[in-house]
Symmetry: C3
């Protein structure tokens, strides 16, 4: 385990999506993720009326950049129309 | 929603400040934030005796750099004297 | 409190390690950290059979780069053999 450059992808979404998101990550072969509960206010999905202080989850995936791109693309295609969701990536160094 | 450079501002503060911080973010026109519960030990506010494993919140705001600067400045001016609070920013890519 | 470059070290580990990790951080002279509860799936420790949706903690330490290196090294030496744990660092600007 020497330090290596990785990508940290963070997804904030409605709690109701937890099972579904975990299944998608499994299908994409993601080996690790961290989920914590959160609340907040976010950008509207294209169809959604936005979400206000509802139960959210915050999912973190430590992966390579290509995997992050595949996850983000899948989320845009499968969820962005119907669900409020915010996703961002950062470069990190895994220790 | 194409990838765009954004700033992630993270604020760790005492839980008692949640309503107040949310009101400040609203006043500043911030459209989205994520709050999760946390505990920990932090730097002392200028007047505070520090905080030890008390109930904290962790607030994340995804915004542009200018907004992050305005939020950080407001927090310094309005809260730093009386409350323990730690704030940091990172460059992220919003997907 | 002018903006200054810092390192954010994030540690995801089994909840059972919280007391132990906090004691290590104290010994290393770390002045602040934030802990939140999480769940997830992670990489296996060298001996562990991995961890699946168990109770995890997410520990964030805002420190200088040298301290982050000392913490990461200690975690590798003392915990990596027996416990599932993921650690990463990022450059951040403390406000």
């Amino acid at each position: 385990m020497k330090p290596e450059e990785s990508t940290l992808l963070t997804i904030v979404a409605e709690s109701a999506l937890e099972r579904s998101l975990v299944a998608e990550l499994d299908r994409l072969g993601v080996s690790g993720y961290t989920i914590s509960d959160a609340r907040g206010r976010g950008r509207r999905g294209r169809r959604s009326s936005g979400w206000e202080h509802s139960g959210n989850i915050r999912v973190e995936v430590l992966c390579d950049g290509e995997t992050a791109t595949r996850i983000a693309q899948l989320l845009r295609e499968q969820y962005a129309r119907d669900f409020a969701m915010t996703t961002w990536r950062q470069a990190v160094t895994q220790e």
